[in-house]
Subunit: 177 residues, 2 copies
């Protein structure tokens, strides 16, 4: 699996069912989201801005893409649901055919610009590792059919190997009417 | 990763947080379980019985083990919790250093004797594929630390590629007092 192929397979609209596991407190969280994944031009102004601010101008990027998401969580002190949404630009910069780095306009575990390292496992599973200020996020994404992909994450503390939480999402492609 | 090493790392008592995703109905299930994993002797009478009933007497088995589990689910029409428990004997029979078959006294998706094919991915993730009468179960298990492992599954219909449900468990080792 190459990153450009993975991005192509991921393009479209997805409905996501996501479960979060807080290990210390043994708490479950459930979130239903809509996710849109779209390729964007390497010359998109936002792409150029990220390349510029991270000193990556002139790098050999491939298949930059945008993720829009809208989430509805059940986890709220008032037991009413929370709605949140966001957008993230991702820019893969391959180092080999199966690995590289990925620039992100917004991080997964902390809301700052972030650079992930990605690597494909032998079965085409994409793994992403991102170091933040306080935490390390490890994600893996794999297709179980053309229209269903799974995504898991582990958040661990930067100091020591404490694991704060894990999550898992089943993402189902919204088929065109 | 070799299967005997994987079994050794898995031995002990685990507390499991498991989330099930029913894709067609967009329903979540949450289950908290206790799991005990113990090596057993290749000469254990139950092992010999499984080898006998599956015509595998004389095969090159390694590291047979027993899983005991006790689960408490929230998924019940009366909204009271259900408690269930069970036991399963598993017998790995390697074909190569990274793959083989695994005999099971009780299947994962259907409660009958089952034979899985197992294979390790490049990062040591164990994948298991089991064909049942009506369904195919695909599981993957990976360690994120010595004391936390993750387990995901996908159940698909044997006819066509319909995916019925997925699940994900975070398993935390119960440390000795």
């Amino acid at each position: 699996m190459r990153i450009e192929q993975f991005v192509e397979l991921s393009e479209g609209e997805w409905k996501s069912m996501r479960s979060g596991h807080s290990l210390a407190f043994q708490q479950f969280e459930q979130v239903v989201s809509k996710i849109k994944i779209n390729s964007i031009s390497p010359n998109n102004p936002e792409v150029l801005e990220i390349l510029n601010s991270t000193n990556n101008v002139g790098c050999n990027l491939v298949s930059p893409f945008r993720i829009n998401w809208q989430a509805e969580s059940d986890w709220d002190s008032n037991e009413t649901s929370q709605v949140s949404n966001g957008v993230c630009i991702l820019i893969p910069i391959p180092i080999s055919s199966t690995s590289g780095k990925m620039l992100r306009s917004v991080g997964y575990a902390e809301e700052i610009n972030a650079t992930s390292n990605y690597c494909f496992l032998s079965d085409g599973t994409l793994t992403l590792t991102t170091n933040y200020d306080q935490t390390i996020a490890e994600e893996r994404i794999w297709f179980v059919s053309n229209n269903v992909r799974c995504r898991s994450s582990v958040i661990r503390t930067l100091q020591g190997s404490g694991i704060l939480q894990t999550s898992y999402a089943s993402e189902i492609r919204k088929l065109k009417a």
